[in-house]
């Protein structure tokens, strides 16, 4: 069985985001990290491999800098890495999904794990869209997954609470924050990872014809500034604030 985990490199959640020339200025990002929910996908992909055997491949689609993230994944136990080198920043969802679906087919994976959404675009389209392209079952908002019989059992969040669901391969899981701790690489893992070769391809190598993006980004801008608020000293100001919430803001 081949398991694929889809990873995306994003600005670290502690990083400041600056806008320059109508676009987020990627060159000013101080630190790049694996998107937080993807880290849980990676952790559970490692657990599935440990429990059921098979090969685990980490796949990303992104610029050259993303390869470091794949090496980090190898340091915790990923067997192979596939990097589709492309600038995804102006792509629409159909373009990104067709690249990733082709990459998964290229690796022969039938079990796919990814984060519920990336910390930069905040969309949550990629996992379900890729599942649809591959004809794979899709389970979203997963916090835990394990092997059960010939298939898998996953705990997922739905609006009324959590539930456990069972699926068979081919299947795709999108992860929320997981119910487990993330593992950290050890020295041996880091040394081994440095020797591993990343398979680097283009979208064209995978036979994907991207076409035109159906969504044109007009501009990026900083969030609107709020006018300065009113500040009060001491708990004795609580009645004043409550009165303002009722009379000025009209929210209670």
């Amino acid at each position: 069985m081949t398991i694929a985990v889809l990873l995306k490199q994003v600005p670290d959640t502690t990083a400041k985001i600056a806008v320059s020339g109508g676009r987020v200025d990627q060159s000013s990002v101080a630190k790049w990290s694996t998107s937080p929910y993807d880290e849980y996908a990676l952790e559970y992909a490692l657990q599935l491999k440990e429990a059921g055997g098979g090969d685990l491949v980490a796949i990303t689609c992104g610029p050259a800098r993303s390869s470091k993230m794949l090496t980090d994944a190898a340091a915790v136990g990923v067997d192979s890495m596939l990097h589709v080198v492309a600038d995804t920043s102006e792509m629409d969802s159909t373009q990104i999904q067709s690249i990733l679906a082709a990459a998964i087919k290229h690796c022969g994976a039938e079990i796919i794990l990814c984060g519920k959404q990336a910390a930069d675009t905040n969309s949550g389209s990629t996992g379900p869209g890729v599942a649809s392209l591959l004809g794979a079952s899709c389970v979203g908002m997963v916090s835990e997954v394990g092997i059960e019989g010939d298939g898998f059992i996953a705990q997922r969040g739905i609006s009324s609470g959590d539930e456990r669901v069972v699926v068979s391969k081919p299947c795709l899981f999108t992860f929320d924050k997981g119910l487990t701790e993330l593992r950290r690489p050890n020295v041996k893992g880091i040394m081994m990872a440095k020797k591993k070769v990343i398979e680097s391809v283009s979208a064209g190598d995978l036979g994907v014809d991207l076409g035109e993006s159906g969504v044109k980004i007009n501009s990026h801008a900083p969030p609107p500034e709020k006018p300065p608020g009113q500040k009060f000293e001491g708990a004795e100001s609580v009645p004043t604030v409550v009165a303002k919430l009722r009379e000025e803001a009209n929210v209670i």
Partner: protein, 306 residues
């Protein structure tokens, strides 16, 4: 232009966000059709002003959520204009699957759209805003509470379609929600606590205030990471939930950039913090420099007396 709206359900009822979707659709112009998965809320949907037709989709596959099976049944009923859903987790999953089956792009979690199909959404969890244009047919999801709801008073025809699809995600066991408390992503008022609360047991003081005003209780990442008693489902911020209630009350929260990203679009923000230099005051409409021990009892009493 045809606009197809995917109704959002809340248990066995129509979720109020559905009226907001219709409200947004009305500003775009065009014929509005509402699809009701499993037939849930079909009558309520037909009474929303501006709806031309309701398609009630009945079938065994709608008894539990399977975005693959649902989208298989729903996609043939989506017109070739705009398909619109809610940006709830299940709404996004379904929208992405439908877009993929239609072969069109999906743009998630819009906070604005105009009749030139200029779409506004926040990216980097609110650290930036993106505007974009679709060149043709597309699927979009809208953020709850960001659009005016359409009023009642419609009387659209309801067409029932029996359809089936093979379900591949089988529910084995339902796990009840830990608490009966309102979820932060559903609430119009939220009161959140941070590590400044000192001890998870002190969240009971937030619960007291929340009960009086019908608020949900949230938490900062620092609180969730520090205390097992505070579940991740309460976390507001970049790796938790992004919220935009009418009123957000932050108590003992310093205002780390991740937290601000998740709540800064709230209509009104009240901050209670003993540190006058806490960054949370930078986004607060009303800041109170005080300890929670002093401020919360007073807040509780004032709200109870309204």
């Amino acid at each position: 232009m045809d606009i197809t709206i995917i109704a959002e359900s809340n248990g066995n009822e129509l979720h109020p966000v559905t009226s907001q979707l219709v409200g947004a659709a009305s500003t775009l112009g065009g014929t509005v059709t509402v699809l009701c998965p499993g037939g849930i809320g079909e009558k309520e949907a037909s009474e929303i002003s501006g709806v031309a037709k309701v398609v009630s989709l009945k079938g065994d596959c709608f008894s539990s959520f399977d975005s693959g099976a649902w989208s298989h049944v729903m996609t043939p009923h989506c017109g070739d204009g705009i398909v619109m859903g809610s940006s709830s987790p299940s709404g996004r999953e379904l929208a992405a699957q439908i877009a993929s089956k239609m072969g069109v792009p999906v743009v998630q979690d819009l906070t604005g759209i105009d009749n030139g199909l200029m779409m506004t959404r926040s990216i980097y969890s609110g650290k930036a805003v993106e505007t974009s244009n679709a060149s043709g047919s597309c699927v979009i999801t809208l953020r709850q509470n960001a659009f005016e709801a359409a009023s009642l008073g419609g009387s659209a025809e309801v067409v029932t379609v029996d359809s089936s699809s093979e379900v591949s995600v089988a529910v084995k066991e339902a796990i009840a929600k830990a608490g009966e408390r309102l979820d932060v992503s559903e609430a119009d008022i939220i009161i959140s606590g941070g590590r400044g609360m000192g001890d998870p047991a002190n969240f009971s003081h937030l619960n007291e205030v929340a009960d009086i005003i019908g608020a949900a209780v949230g938490a900062s990442r620092a609180a969730v990471d520090s205390w097992d008693e505070i579940p991740h489902s309460m976390q507001v911020g970049q790796t938790g939930k992004t919220v935009n209630p009418s009123l957000y009350i932050a108590v003992g929260i310093s205002g780390a950039i991740q937290h601000l990203a998740g709540m800064r679009s709230s209509k009104y923000i009240v901050a209670i913090n003993k540190d006058p230099d806490a960054p949370i005051f930078g986004v607060a409409d009303y800041g109170i420099v005080a300890t929670w021990e002093e401020a919360l009892p007073s807040l509780r009493d004032e709200l109870a007396n309204l």
